[in-house]
C-alpha cells in the first residue's frame, strides 16, 4: 500500500520472473523504458496479458525470450503488419498461446476488480477460441431457459505496467479517458507506472483532474520517464516514432536483425532513456 518512487531499473527489478503482467496496447500508454529494462535484466517466463491486445512491448519481450505465455486478443504492429517475433514464436511453438477476445479480457479483469471468480459473457459460442481455452467454461443462464453462456474466470495479474502523462508524489496517476489502465490497476496485485512528469500538486485535489486519475491507493511505485513511451508514442503528448518502428519491424524479421536491434537500442548504455 505504501507508495514508493523508483527509477526504471528498480521497477524492472521488482517485476519477478514468472509474473503475470498486464500490458496495454500501443495506443494506450506503454512503459517502453521498463520493457527495455526487463530485457536488460533478462526477465524470464513472463505471462503477458494484453489488455486487450499488445504491440511492440509484446513482440520485443517475446523476441528477447522473456515470455512463457501470451494471453491476448491480438498482437499487432498496426499498419506495418503482424508482429515479427510473435509470428516466429507462434510458428515455432516456443510460447504458450492463450488466444482470447477483447471483451473476455476486459471481463476477466473486471471479475478480478470485483473479487468474483468469474464473469458470464455473451458471444463466443461456436468459436474455436472457446474450444482451445481450457480455462473458460460453458454455463447456462440461471434466469433463462436453454440459454447458454460462456464463463470467463477472473484475470488477476501479478503486475500491471503502463505509462502515463502525469503522476504526483502520492502515486496518483492521470490517465484521462484511458480507463482500461484503471481497470488494470484495480485488478492487479501490484501496479508499476512510469510518468512523463511527476508533479508536486495533488492530482486528486482538483475535481476535474481527479475524474481521470487512478488513486495512489492502487499504485505500488512510480518512476519518472521522459519520453517513456518511445517509440510507440503517448496519446495527446507525442506521436509514435514511425521511422524507428519501421526500423524495428525490418530488423525483427530475422533472428540476427532482432539481436542487432537489442544491441543497438536496448543493451546499449542508456540508449533511449
Amino acid at each position: 500500500m505504501a507508495f514508493t518512487s523508483h527509477d526504471i531499473e528498480q521497477i524492472a527489478a521488482r517485476i519477478p520472473d514468472g509474473a503475470k503482467i498486464a500490458l496495454p496496447p500501443d495506443y494506450s500508454g506503454c512503459a517502453m523504458a521498463v520493457i527495455r529494462a526487463l530485457i536488460r535484466r533478462g526477465a524470464k517466463n513472463l505471462h503477458i496479458v494484453g489488455v486487450p491486445s499488445v504491440g511492440l512491448q509484446g513482440d520485443m519481450l517475446i523476441g528477447a525470450g522473456c515470455v512463457a505465455t501470451l494471453e491476448t486478443a491480438a498482437v499487432t504492429m498496426g499498419e506495418l503488419g503482424i508482429a515479427p517475433r510473435f509470428i516466429n514464436a507462434a510458428k515455432q511453438g516456443s510460447i504458450k498461446l492463450l488466444d482470447g477476445t477483447c471483451p473476455a479480457i476486459h471481463a476477466g479483469l473486471q471479475a478480478a476488480e470485483k473479487g468474483i471468480p468469474y464473469m458470464p459473457l455473451r458471444g463466443l459460442l461456436g468459436s474455436d477460441l472457446l474450444e482451445h481455452r481450457e480455462d473458460w467454461k460453458r454455463g447456462e443462464n440461471p434466469f433463462g431457459e436453454d440459454d447458454p453462456l460462456v464463463l470467463i474466470p477472473a484475470i488477476k495479474p501479478d503486475v500491471a505496467l503502463f505509462h502515463v502523462a502525469k503522476a504526483d508524489r502520492k502515486g496518483n496517476a492521470w490517465i484521462g479517458v484511458r480507463r482500461e489502465l484503471m481497470l488494470m490497476a484495480h485488478a492487479a496485485k501490484q501496479t508499476f507506472i512510469t510518468a512523463e512528469e511527476i508533479v508536486d500538486e495533488d492530482l486528486l485535489a482538483d475535481e476535474i483532474v481527479a475524474a481521470g486519475t487512478i488513486p495512489g491507493l492502487y499504485v505500488t511505485a512510480v518512476a519518472e520517464a521522459k519520453q517513456g513511451a518511445w517509440p510507440v508514442g503517448l496519446g495527446g503528448r507525442y506521436a509514435p516514432d514511425a521511422a524507428h518502428i519501421a526500423h524495428y519491424y525490418e530488423q525483427a524479421r530475422s533472428d540476427d536483425g532482432f539481436q542487432r536491434y537489442l544491441a543497438d537500442h536496448v543493451h546499449a548504455p542508456k540508449a533511449a532513456e
Binding site: 510458428k91 515455432q92 477483447c102 471483451p103 474455436d128
Partner: protein, 243 residues
C-alpha cells in the same frame, strides 16, 4: 464513371448499407469503412452517430477499452465491420492462422473483438479488399467467430454482407449462404467464381455495383477526405491527394 477510384466505389457502396442507422462503429485500421461511415453521417444531417476507433475527434467513448463491447451488448451499435485472414461460405471468419492451431503455418494478429461483436451487432459488414481463393475459402482453418449460431444462442447480430474488391455478397442466415448482389465495374461473374473458394448463389442477372454520382464523389473527395485524414493520413494522401 471512369474516374471513380476503386476505394471510392467501395466507400460509396458501404455507405449505402448504413443509411437510416443511428450509430455505426468502425474498428482500427479500417480507412474505407471509416470513410463510408463518415459519408453516411454527412448525408444523414446529424442523425447518424459514428464512433471511429483510433480517432480523437470522431469517437466519443470515455469508459476505456470495454466501452465499445458494453455499448454493443446494450444494443446501442447498429453496424460494425469485420475482416478476416480467411472467410468461408458460411460467413465464418478466421483472424488467427492457417494450419493446425496453435502452431499454425501462417499466423494472423488474433481475433480482437470479433468473437463477441459478430454476435451482438445487428448489421456486421464483412470487408476484405483482397478477393482470392486464398482468403475466401470453403472452410476456415480456425473459427474466430462463427457466421451463424443455433437458435438457442443469444445472437441479435451477425453478417449482413461481404464487400470485396471485386463484388458485394449478401448473406442469408437461414440458408447459411452468400448470394452475389452486384459485381464492381470492370469485373465479371466468371472471374468471381474463379477467385472464390466457396460456392455461392447468384441471381439470373447479376447487376453491376452502381458507381457514386457526382455529388457523392465530390463529398467523398472533399469533406470525407479531410475527416478521414485525421485518423488515416497515409490513406487520405494516397486516395484523395490527386482528386
Amino acid at each position: 464513371m471512369t474516374d471513380c477510384k476503386p476505394e471510392e466505389l467501395l466507400i460509396a457502396s458501404i455507405a449505402d448499407m448504413l443509411t437510416g442507422l443511428r450509430h455505426v462503429a468502425v474498428g482500427n485500421s479500417s480507412p474505407i469503412p471509416g470513410a463510408a461511415a463518415l459519408l453516411t453521417r454527412a448525408r444523414s444531417k446529424g442523425e447518424l452517430r459514428v464512433s471511429l476507433l483510433g480517432s480523437r475527434k470522431h469517437t466519443a467513448f470515455t469508459d476505456g477499452g470495454k466501452e465499445l463491447f458494453d455499448c454493443a451488448a446494450e444494443g446501442r451499435i447498429d453496424a460494425f465491420f469485420l475482416g478476416g485472414g480467411q472467410i468461408d461460405g458460411e460467413a465464418n471468419i478466421n483472424l488467427v492462422g492457417i494450419g493446425d492451431y496453435p502452431q499454425t503455418k501462417v499466423r494472423f494478429p488474433g481475433s480482437f473483438g470479433s468473437a463477441y461483436l459478430y454476435f451482438l451487432i445487428p448489421r456486421v459488414i464483412l470487408f476484405r479488399e483482397e478477393h482470392t481463393d486464398r482468403v475466401l475459402v470453403p472452410k476456415v482453418d480456425f473459427i474466430s467467430a462463427p457466421g451463424t449460431s443455433p437458435a438457442n444462442v443469444y445472437r441479435p447480430g451477425g453478417p449482413h454482407a461481404l464487400v470485396t474488391g471485386r463484388c458485394i455478397f449478401d448473406f442469408d442466415k437461414a440458408a447459411k449462404r452468400f448470394t452475389l448482389r452486384s459485381v464492381h465495374p470492370g469485373h465479371t461473374v466468371q472471374e468471381i467464381r474463379e477467385n472464390t473458394g466457396f460456392d455461392f448463389d447468384e441471381p439470373a442477372k447479376v447487376p453491376e455495383t452502381p458507381t457514386p454520382d457526382a455529388g457523392t464523389l465530390a463529398l467523398i473527395r472533399g469533406r470525407i477526405g479531410e475527416e478521414i485524414a485525421e485518423t488515416y493520413p497515409a490513406f487520405a494522401a494516397r486516395v484523395f491527394a490527386a482528386a
